[in-house]
Symmetry: C2
């Protein structure tokens, strides 16, 4: 093997071990740690981050990358090693893109803005928020410029440079195309579905469901969805999340005593994220090329498990017996009662509580605002007006100046995470498109879902998505798996089948 | 501040943050982690250990230590900084004492010996064990020589050099003196106590005690003993242990359904270890001078809480109501029933199951063998005969060639941890001596214990032990707290009061 490549691999292996430590220390902090641990844990995490940064951004890394680039030009490396190297190169450059002073300023400004936001949201204090948020936007624009200034990747707009951090490979132009189609179709579809659902007799699923019974039920669901408890855990945290390493995937959920379905959806969702991570190729596990492709693909896996499997009529039928077994109070509900309740569509203010059909409208609204903001087409003070106007246009709702129902509802922007929101809806689009392709290749899918057997679906995802990690770019991955790049049509078709034909 | 000292502190701060990571990753491994995590976790721990070793043993550290030693000679550093520096020096030297090849050989030989031991113990395969163990002893002798060869500390024997790792400051000669006295007195005392206990009517405490009720009871005990649940946790693991950092102390216990007292003793014991760690001075928390003094002092704190507080008649009286409350099946037992059962004395083969009075005999037996072994007075093949002869002499028991009841019972020697065993009994000695001194200064101790109020005892330990960390050597610590260095007499006096007079 090329000597420089061997050194690069050794260094990335070391970085992966530090990532292992921060992964499980973060999990511990969110699931287990007593309050007294906050100070020492923050200090330890900061040191590990510094060590990681020193290893990743070292000049030696740059020299080795230069050497392997030479070898590449001489044609002495095979194709897969070229990808391997370009992903290491990308990781190195992303880490070196920003001056330490900017990173430091972002941590300070982001933490002040997020801290202030927690109370400003409660008191509807937009102008108070704005006074912190201006700096966050200013620094995010600077970050976008720094990333854009790097000669190795060609970003059409500053926003593309931030998108590339979360949605690597899916450009502003691509997303514009997909979202443009959704924007045309969704409002009309939404009205049709609401009209149709008027004839439904509402069933109230609320009850008092013991947490330990819900926990057992969640674990049963994970087992059906193929989660390996010898290589992972389910725990409880304030917000559900998924983390871990190969061999030890940790997901969390949270239980609401009045609503049993909420935890199950979260569990299915996080099981999707964990299944992708667990299915990444072992041989590449310590290198950038072995990571999950991007957040649009990651979210497609969680939504595949949550919306396309767990929420399907066929799987719901098969899972009903388990719900009845562990939560006897639900025995009065039929599979249709539960499905109707879970598929109720109604525009509402809060993104995280939105149904599957209106969710993309929430995302597009944010996407349009944040891209305009980063590209300096609007200024932070223009956000409330733009939000109000888009909310009326997309959801038919006025926030009437109550920003907790508007632009103060999300945590994302407070610490400068611009370019993340689109991955939610690109994930939904990809999930629907992958599902369609899988069903075409498995005409007996309905019977298998109805048997609660989704192994064929896991195998299909493994073959088409998981095993490729970051060895293929996101749109090529979609083309190879489904015949085309990300398209709005599959999601719209899924919505029509589920919400108009009520077939799935 | 001296510039070299500032650099040393910065480096040790960084090392402490890596220690934070390994501390909680180890906890996770023993308490939480699924089996699939073993491989990746071992790899991450090995990398963190390497990073730590690189930081600690760097030549730069040596230069800074050299510079501060110069400043010290010029008298430009105050007394506490001199200790601070000498403890950093000791940490640096202990880490540099062994060549990497030796450390590597020890890991290989220790892991093979420990792995083999697990089955050899079950099949009584001494000769199979011996074939691995010879190498472990050979390497331990080499380690002792390397440590002895360092010019900075003067070790009378090779065994002293290993002792110094665990029992820093307590020499072979000191321990010989203490153990010699115990050896004279214990066999006779043991006979007297057994004769006395013949008149006791045995009460069988066995039952079926639910684990969750035992868990609640253990937490109640910890609260009474002063544990702060905002700065720590209680969990369950195969073997009880204590770990953590300031602000986040984690202890574990384990529940036996038939025996409620077992978990309580373990909980009290680990609460003692955790209290010491939590009481170490905040200002020194990242530096060697701020660490617990040595294992003889550490074990004295756990045994203080377990044997001197929890097992005392007065505290037992006060805790009875809690036992009755959480384990209703125990309401038929009086405080005397429980105390009699917990203080039953009977020589037995297995150290970990031994009562308080025979425990030192198990330790002395091992101490005599391991010191002779490391000082090359005996060879590994002589161990079974020496064990048999000492077992008969101290415990009146022949192991009749069943080595699982003899020299194959402990894990310690398998991976070369020689010099650790004496800390168990030195801890018991120190605990008894500290208790006597504390009681002398608090004549109302009995009333306070009977009220379940031990805050005065915690304050006394904080003042006399915890706040001094490693700023004072172990024997000076004992002299300042009790008027003399570690002495067998306090432990013997405690045994007489508890087991002959039955007063405590």
């Amino acid at each position: 093997m090329n000597a420089a490549l061997a050194r690069l691999e050794k260094q990335f292996h070391r970085i992966a071990q530090i990532d292992h430590a921060t992964t499980f220390l973060s999990w511990d902090q969110m699931v287990i740690m007593p309050n007294g641990g906050v100070g020492p844990r923050s200090s330890a995490m900061a040191t590990l981050e510094t060590l990681r940064h020193e290893l990743l951004t070292s000049d030696a890394m740059g020299e080795w990358l230069h050497e392997v680039a030479d070898a590449q030009r001489q044609g002495s490396l095979n194709e897969v090693n070229c990808v391997h190297i370009s992903e290491m190169q990308r990781a190195w450059q992303q880490a070196r893109a920003l001056p330490a002073t900017l990173i430091h300023a972002q941590v300070i400004a982001g933490s002040a803005c997020e801290h202030g936001w927690r109370s400003q949201k409660a008191t509807n204090d937009w102008s108070g928020f704005l006074s912190n948020f201006r700096e966050v936007v200013h620094l995010a624009r600077e970050e976008a410029q720094c990333r854009q200034a790097q000669q190795t990747e060609d970003f059409a707009t500053p926003y593309d440079a931030l998108l590339n951090v979360h949605c690597t490979g899916d450009s502003h132009a691509l997303i514009d195309g997909v979202f443009g189609e959704l924007k045309l179709a969704l409002p009309g579809l939404l009205q049709e579905v609401m009209d149709k659902q008027k004839s439904r007799v509402p069933v109230d699923l609320n009850g008092d469901y013991a947490e330990d019974a819900q926990h057992t039920l969640s674990k049963e669901l994970m087992q059906l969805l193929g989660f390996d408890f010898e290589a992972g855990r389910l725990d409880v945290s304030l917000h559900p999340f998924s983390t871990g390493v190969r061999g030890d995937q940790r997901i969390t959920t949270r239980y609401r005593r009045i609503d049993f379905a909420d935890a199950l959806q979260a569990t299915a969702h996080e099981t999707g994220h964990a299944s992708y991570e667990a299915g990444l190729p072992e041989a590449w596990q310590h290198y950038p090329a072995g990571r999950a492709r991007n957040m649009c693909i990651h979210e497609s896996q969680s939504l595949f498990f949550e919306k396309q499997v767990f929420l399907s009529r066929a799987f719901g039928q098969s899972f009903l017996a388990k719900i009845h077994e562990h939560l006897p109070a639900t025995r009065k509900f039929s599979a249709d009662d539960i499905w109707n309740s879970q598929t109720k569509v109604q525009p509402s203010y809060i993104r995280t509580e939105a149904d599957e059909l209106t969710y993309p409208l929430h995302v597009m609204l944010r996407y349009e605002i944040e891209s305009a903001l980063i590209n300096s087409d609007i200024e932070p003070e223009h956000i409330p007006d733009m939000w109000e106007s888009l909310s009326q246009e997309y959801l038919g709702l006025s926030i009437n100046g109550d920003h907790a129902k508007g632009c103060l509802q999300d945590i994302h922007w407070t610490d400068g995470a611009f370019g993340y929101f689109p991955s939610y809806t690109m994930g939904a689009v990809n999930a629907a498109q992958l599902t369609l392709a899988m069903k075409n290749q498995h005409p007996d899918w309905h019977q298998q879902f109805a048997n609660g057997d989704i192994e064929f679906a896991r195998n299909w995802l493994h073959e088409n998505i998981w095993q490729h990690a970051s060895l293929i770019d996101s749109q090529t991955l979609m083309v190879q798996a489904t015949g085309q790049g990300s398209q709005a049509s599959a999601l719209l078709s899924h919505f029509k089948t589920r919400y108009l034909d009520e077939l799935d």
